[in-house]
């Protein structure tokens, strides 16, 4: 097998990524769904409860102060994964994946380009959200924006690999978003976002800890509260394992047409 020169691969990857960004921006619904709506929801919720949090010292305030941004982040991550699932299903149904595959672009390059585009928009969305959100959070909650965005990207990257499995399982583009939503949203109640995992019954705790969203929630909450990365090495490791396992499965079951 003669490999394609690294340089040409890189050139193709950059070109395709840039192109997919342009194509994405030209689709108004995609931009609204992925950037405008999550930020909007966050602002609305922040306005409703955020300004009152400063006076409260209760657990509820902490819950809102940490829980809301993490919920926002997870919402964005899930949105990102769903849009990747949808776009892969659409590209497959339309023969675009097949058309690209019949070029020197390697299949991996095509998927990496999509992941890069999704991560880039995730970074944009989460940064905007955090910056906008600062207005509604009282002084003292100095949010590590860069770290949080990085944690966000790591989480999204990991959950994206789950998206590839979902994208492989759906037969038509029409069923991709519903199935993706079902899988991802059904994890929400059990990932420690609304209720600490320690308070679940024993059996549930095991299930909860095995869910790919759980380490993401744990990492995001910790980083938002100002914990150092070193305190969350287990979460990072878990996210990497999720990625490795899902990518392995996806590479076995992925269909190009």
């Amino acid at each position: 097998m003669t490999p394609m020169p690294v340089l040409a691969t890189l050139r193709g990857l950059l070109k395709l990524t840039w192109l997919e960004i342009k194509v994405f921006v030209r689709e108004p619904m995609g931009l609204i769904g992925n950037v405008v709506i999550p930020v909007g929801i966050f602002v609305v919720l922040g306005r409703a409860v955020g300004s009152r949090l400063g006076d409260l010292t209760s657990g509820f305030a902490t819950q809102m102060r940490v829980g809301l941004p993490v919920f926002g982040a997870i919402f964005i991550a899930i949105n990102t994964v769903l849009s990747l699932v949808a776009i892969i299903a659409i590209y497959r149904e339309g023969g675009i994946l097949k058309r690209l595959r019949a070029t020197p672009l390697s299949p991996i390059t095509i998927l990496v380009a999509h992941v890069l585009v999704k991560l880039m928009f995730t970074a944009v969305t989460v940064t905007v959200m955090v910056l906008v959100g600062r207005r509604y959070y009282p002084a003292g909650t100095d949010v590590p924006v860069v770290s949080f965005t990085f944690a966000m990207l790591l989480s999204t990257w990991s959950i994206l690999s789950l998206g590839f499995i979902i994208a492989s399982l759906v037969r038509t583009a029409r069923f991709a978003p519903p199935l993706g939503s079902l899988v991802l949203y059904s994890m929400l109640p059990f990932c420690g976002l609304f209720r600490p995992i320690d308070t679940f019954p024993d059996g549930m705790q095991i299930v909860a800890r095995a869910l790919p969203l759980t380490p993401a929630v744990s990492l995001l909450s910790g980083i938002w509260q100002g914990n150092p990365w070193s305190a969350h090495l287990d979460d990072v490791a878990a996210l990497v394992v999720v990625f490795a396992v899902c990518t392995l499965i996806a590479s076995r079951v992925f269909r190009w047409e």
Binding site: K15, Y91, G95, K98
Partner: protein
């Protein structure tokens, strides 16, 4: 007329579950020719072509393109081949020039992109989104993408399916241009007229098997040698005179219209000679040559459209 084969396919078989898509298919495509794999929808044309392109792996058999294995040497081959896929799409909102630019970035050596768009009549569409192009324009863009790396061998799968006759004629002209530049073209079509007009050599495939292959004229001569001459005349002895000609098989008369069936290249000449020799007054004269359509009917007992 032709050089060494650029494609050699021997005994390939491909099944999808219980369905045998392609069975014992063998053929060769000589350099510099337009080769057509023709047959009805579902006959195995696309599967065969995609095996040759290296997009599918046959269950059995052997394929060589430029002496290389299409799957093992995919990258080495991709530089030398251009591919247009059946019913392919691009991103809805990708611009024409962006698609060409992306494809160009994947190869070290390419032809001039603007010149190519110009040749294919797409210059004024270079900033148009893919979704706004007509069927013919989309196919011309796909031809541009297939030609961007100046390939020696071009694959065209059902290139004109779904196009109106005018767009189809434009595309036929472009395919002839490709061949005129010394490239080998491997195309599939279920349109016998397209094969007849374009191809130097055709292989007829049906139910996953190649049932015959030759030049279009060769196939017609072998399988449908009989041709017809239609003459309108009131001359009383016309039928008898024509019937006496060496190359005539039968003459049928309906009113003053005669249908003369026969075989051989001399049929028309003999008929005309007979007309003038006997001073027949003719009000209409028409000849009819059998086509690949008739060949398909003869070989399979079915029309290719069924």
């Amino acid at each position: 007329m032709s050089g060494a084969p650029v494609i050699r396919v021997s005994g390939i078989r491909k099944t999808y579950g219980d369905t045998v898509a392609v069975d014992e298919v063998s053929f060769e495509v000589p350099r510099g020719q337009i080769f057509g794999l023709i047959g009805p929808n579902g006959a195995g044309k696309t599967t065969t072509m995609e095996c040759v392109e290296g997009l599918r792996k046959p269950d059995q058999g052997r394929i060589e393109v430029f002496g290389l294995d299409p799957i093992k040497h995919a990258h080495a081959l991709q530089r030398r081949i251009g591919v247009q896929l059946q019913e392919a799409q691009l991103q809805k909102r990708i611009k024409v020039w962006e698609a060409v630019d992306l494809w160009a970035s994947l190869f070290d050596a390419t032809v001039d992109a603007e010149g190519l768009l110009d040749q294919l009549g797409l210059s004024d569409k270079r900033n148009a989104w893919f979704m706004t192009l007509s069927g013919g324009q989309k196919q011309r863009l796909f031809i541009a993408l297939a030609l961007i790396n100046d390939p020696e061998l071009v694959f065209l799968d059902e290139l004109t399916t779904g196009l109106d006759p005018q767009a189809r004629h434009t595309i036929w002209g472009l395919v002839r241009d490709i061949a005129a530049r010394g490239k080998t073209v491997f195309l599939t079509t279920h349109l016998m007229e397209e094969a007849e007009r374009l191809c130097d050599h055709v292989a007829i495939i049906d139910h996953g098997r190649i049932i015959d292959h030759d030049t279009p004229a060769g196939l017609v001569t072998r399988h449908c040698p009989q041709r017809s001459v239609f003459v309108s005349t009131t001359h009383p002895d016309a039928a008898a005179r024509f019937d006496a000609l060496a190359s005539v098989d039968s003459v049928t008369t309906v009113g003053d219209q005669l249908t003369i069936r026969g075989r051989g290249d001399d049929l028309v000449t003999e008929t005309i000679h007979c007309l003038s020799e006997h001073g027949m007054r003719v009000t209409a004269f028409r000849t009819e040559e059998p086509t690949l359509e008739d060949v398909f009917l003869t070989l399979t007992g079915r029309s290719v459209r069924e």
